[in-house]
């Protein structure tokens, strides 16, 4: 073997570890810089890439937060109504969609008297009124009272609705009834709630 080749071999061998380690160093440096350095604009939705978007049309048009015409005033025992809306998932990730009561104001103790049933059905068109709610493929998620609805995603395990990736519509029908057994101690009382759908 020539002296020249042996020499080249030594150089190449000497350089190889340097290349590997440098690449490792570069990799760590670049990744760390990208992930951890730019912090000033990190609040809000600045970096949202829209991988997962969840909206509902409870207010007529799709928005992350809506105010559906939900509940009522001047309720008497047996008063009832149904609200239908569509939760739209527009994301690249599949997940389980669950509904829960994210906020409950029940200082009057009325919530146990408000019976709630929640039904869900997959749909291909926007459902914002109950006459459009699907008649087939309906799953019954809850039949309980307002205060007994789960308060977080973990508690809502029984109400999984599997949602595929892409734009998916899931119609919900929520029927409430002021229980007919509600006695007069519940006259002129109030309860309020925020309902949240979450996908994970």
């Amino acid at each position: 073997m020539s002296k020249q080749l042996g020499r080249r071999r030594r150089i190449v061998r000497a350089v190889a570890p340097a290349v590997g380690l440098l690449a490792a160093g570069l990799l760590v440096w670049q990744g760390s810089y990208a992930a951890f350095s730019a912090t000033t604009s990190a609040t809000g939705n600045t970096w949202t890439t829209g991988n997962l978007v969840l909206e509902n049309n409870g207010g007529g048009t799709y928005a992350t937060t809506t105010s559906a015409d939900f509940g009522g005033t001047n309720l008497k025992p047996g008063s009832t109504n149904s609200v239908c809306l569509t939760v739209k998932s527009g994301g690249s990730v599949a997940g389980d969609l669950r509904m829960y009561v994210s906020k409950l104001t029940n200082t009057d103790g009325l919530a146990p008297k408000i019976d709630i049933t929640v039904q869900a059905a997959s749909t291909t068109t926007d459902v914002s009124k109950c006459s459009d709610f699907p008649t087939s493929g309906v799953s019954n998620l809850y039949s309980t009272t307002l205060d007994a609805l789960p308060a977080d995603y973990a508690g809502a395990t029984a109400s999984d609705v599997a949602v595929a990736s892409g734009s998916v519509l899931e119609a919900y029908k929520i029927t409430w009834t002021l229980d007919s057994s509600t006695d007069k101690t519940f006259m002129n009382k109030s309860a309020s709630a925020d309902l949240t759908w979450e996908i994970q």
Binding site: L5, G6, I11, G20, L27
Partner: protein, 677 residues
């Protein structure tokens, strides 16, 4: 850069075939070495900081994309100051109960007043639903090692092909390196390997110009200058490594080397994982339920359900002169004088609809003069049908002057002077004694009149109705106080019609009223309603019981004791259900409790002011009622068996009585088959 070299290598001019094979081995060895050192470097970076308390976490999901991807390893240093965490990727124990026990890496986007932090995945549209307490924080992200955790995620996902490819590449790299070394072993001219790297370095660093070929020189330059520092760092390590290589047992050495490489590579699988979970939420906020002020029926709803022509609830605040029409027909009234600033009207007074909400009324000063308080229709009304109409007015007064409560007149304001063609009828008015009249004019006055005394300071509901079904009737407080089979009224001018008025109007020629003037009603007025239809007694009753609900008639329960239980009777100690029945299987036994006679009671609600007969079969027992009525039947004359007894009683206005069956002191009695009819 590694790839670039790999491409260049075959293109390099080599003098001989042997040299070409040797060169290929050399460059393969280069690639293998670089790959192994790369992996080793990443592993060192990943694990070395553990010496000073940093911890690595493999990211398992993609909610921090595009900055942090699945398979990256976050190195977190302990940091718990929320102020420093704000805006940074933070590693924490997930406070969300649904992810209990998992570690999450999300960005702190907000500090909350209660000391918690709001976190969010960069790729998530909404923040995490559960706030992060300081106690759950593990640390702040400091270093990110890309991809090194991928084997971990492959292992978890069962992506065995990828795992196999990686291990294969490591094995191949090891083979390349060993082959390259084998060449050294085959070469007698080989220098002391201990000096190999030192020579290489010095050649590269000090004499780059000596390199023979341009392409190779460039390569050497690049590595030599740019990477020299990096290359020198692990020198002692390499020395140690290559010294081992000098031992004679090559095969064992190769195997050991491969094992070391694979084992250290597998160490990546030991890195704990961290979730950067995708999640998104959407909410419907402000759902609100409020119950009615009363659960009883709603008077207003029931009035409307009868389809009124006009309906002035007189709930108006008086800021304008409008008396709002609730009929849906937009027939608003007008207060005169204007209530705002007027002492003649008291607005928003407590009304007659006890228990309803709102329950408001107006109080009028009244008085017999032309400028008295009045509410009249804004627009002229058509000539109402002469034979079918109804009016309702609620009122409360202690006045002894009487006045008109509601009626129809040919003039909107002032006096419809009968001497000059003025017309006024279809009215309810009160005289000085508090008696109410409903009057219709057909050339002469036709009235139905109640007894006196409705000026007693209490709210009353007066209903006047006319129609073919019941003629002309006047109800006060749901009681028919006057009626006659008369169905006709004043025929007003077909073109001009007239005006409905509440609280005032001419009464000249009616009852004791003789003067041509506005007879204003002094008192409270509420719920003025006009129908163009006849109201039935049940219509009137339904409205009345909206405000004055009747007790629920329970009647007597389990009077024959055949439920086998004494309930709902309540008995003294020792008394209760018995099988010594008159009929069926069961009866009640009334056993003396010490010296006291045994007794069973039941409180029942019956129709008020109603006569009843109680019938029972008793045996040495007295049966009776107390409370809202009194009556009893002594034990039957036959002392040795059941005998039938009965008595009558009349309930009071409450209708509530207690039925009792009582045995004898020191003895035992029985009762069965109690009925109340």
């Amino acid at each position: 850069m590694v790839t670039e070299i790999a491409i260049e290598a075959p293109a390099m001019p080599e003098p001989a075939r042997h040299d070409f094979g040797s060169s290929a081995r050399l460059w393969c060895g280069f690639l293998g070495r670089a790959w192994l050192w790369f992996l080793g470097g990443c592993l060192v970076v990943t694990f070395a900081p553990m010496a000073f308390g940093w911890r690595p976490y493999v990211v398992e999901s993609g909610s921090m994309q595009p900055r942090i991807n699945v398979g990256d390893v976050i190195l977190a240093s302990p940091e718990h100051d929320p102020g420093r965490l704000l805006g940074h990727v933070t590693v924490f124990n997930d406070p969300d109960p649904s992810h209990a026990g998992t570690v999450k890496s999300h960005r702190v986007i907000r500090l909350n007043p209660d000391g918690t932090m709001t976190t969010k995945g960069d790729a998530n549209p909404t923040p995490d639903p559960v706030a992060l307490p300081k106690s759950d924080v593990i640390g702040i992200g400091r270093l990110l090692v890309r991809w090194i955790g991928l084997p971990m995620t492959w292992l978890q996902r069962g992506a065995w092909v990828y795992l196999a490819l990686l291990l294969g590449s490591v094995w191949l790299a090891a083979v390349f390196v060993v082959r390259d070394r084998d060449e050294d072993d085959e070469s007698p001219n080989d220098e002391d390997p201990d000096d190999e790297f030192a020579d290489g370095e010095w050649d590269g660093l000090a004499e780059p110009e000596k390199a023979a070929e341009p392409s190779r020189r460039r390569t050497t330059e690049d590595f030599g200058t740019a990477f020299a520092v990096a290359a020198r760092e692990p020198r002692s390590l390499r020395r140690a490594h290559h010294r081992r290589r000098l031992t004679p047992r090559q095969r064992l050495r190769k195997a050991t080397a491969r094992l070391v490489v694979v084992t250290s590579g597998s160490a990546a699988l030991l890195i704990p994982t961290s979730q950067a979970a995708f999640s998104a939420t959407t909410s419907v906020v402000g759902a609100s339920w409020t119950t009615a002020a009363t659960f009883g029926p709603d008077y207003t709803t029931d009035v409307k359900s009868l389809n009124p022509y006009l309906y002035w609830k007189l709930d108006d605040a008086g800021t304008t002169s409008v008396a709002v029409d609730y009929s849906g027909n937009n027939r608003n009234g007008q207060y005169t004088p204007a209530p705002s600033g007027s002492t003649q009207w008291a607005m928003l007074q407590t009304g007659g609809l006890t228990g309803q909400s709102p329950n408001l009324a107006v109080t009028a000063a009244g008085g017999a003069n032309n400028s008295t308080t009045c509410v009249y229709t804004n627009a002229a009304a058509q000539n109402p049908a002469v034979n079918t109409y109804s009016e309702i007015i609620w009122f409360k007064t202690t006045s002894t002057q009487g006045g008109k409560l509601i009626g129809f007149e040919s003039s909107q304001t002032g006096v419809s002077n009968s001497n000059s063609g003025g017309q006024y009828d279809r009215h309810i008015y009160m005289d000085g004694t508090g008696a109410l009249s409903f009057g219709a004019w057909t050339g002469a006055a036709t009235t139905v009149t109640s007894g006196p005394g409705y000026n007693d300071g209490a709210w009353h509901m007066a209903v006047a109705t006319m129609g073919s079904a019941g003629g002309m009737r006047l109800y006060v407080d749901d009681v028919l106080v006057g009626s006659r089979g008369f169905v006709d009224s004043q025929n007003y001018d077909a073109l001009n019609g007239g005006w409905w008025r509440v609280g005032c109007g001419n009464l000249s020629g009616w009852g004791g009223y003789t003067t041509q003037t506005n007879y204003g009603f002094a008192g409270s007025l509420d719920e003025a309603t006009v129908y163009t239809s006849e109201l039935s007694a049940s219509n009137v009753d339904k409205l009345w019981i909206d405000i004055n609900p009747r007790p629920v008639i329970t009647g007597l329960q389990n009077g024959n004791f055949e439920t086998g239980s004494i309930s709902p009777w309540t008995c003294t100690t020792g008394s209760g259900i018995s099988t010594n029945a008159h009929s069926g299987t069961y009866a009640a036994v009334l056993a003396s409790n010490g010296s006291k006679a045994g007794e069973c009671d039941q409180t029942v609600t019956l129709l008020p002011n109603h006569a009843y007969t109680l019938t029972a079969w008793s045996w040495r027992a007295t049966v009776g009622v107390t409370g809202g009525a009194t009556g009893s039947a002594p034990p039957s004359s036959n002392g040795n068996k059941y005998g039938q007894v009965n008595f009558t009683f009349t309930t009071d206005s409450t209708g509530v009585v207690t039925v009792y069956a009582q045995g004898q002191a020191g003895g035992t009695g029985y009762v069965d088959d109690i009925t109340i009819n």
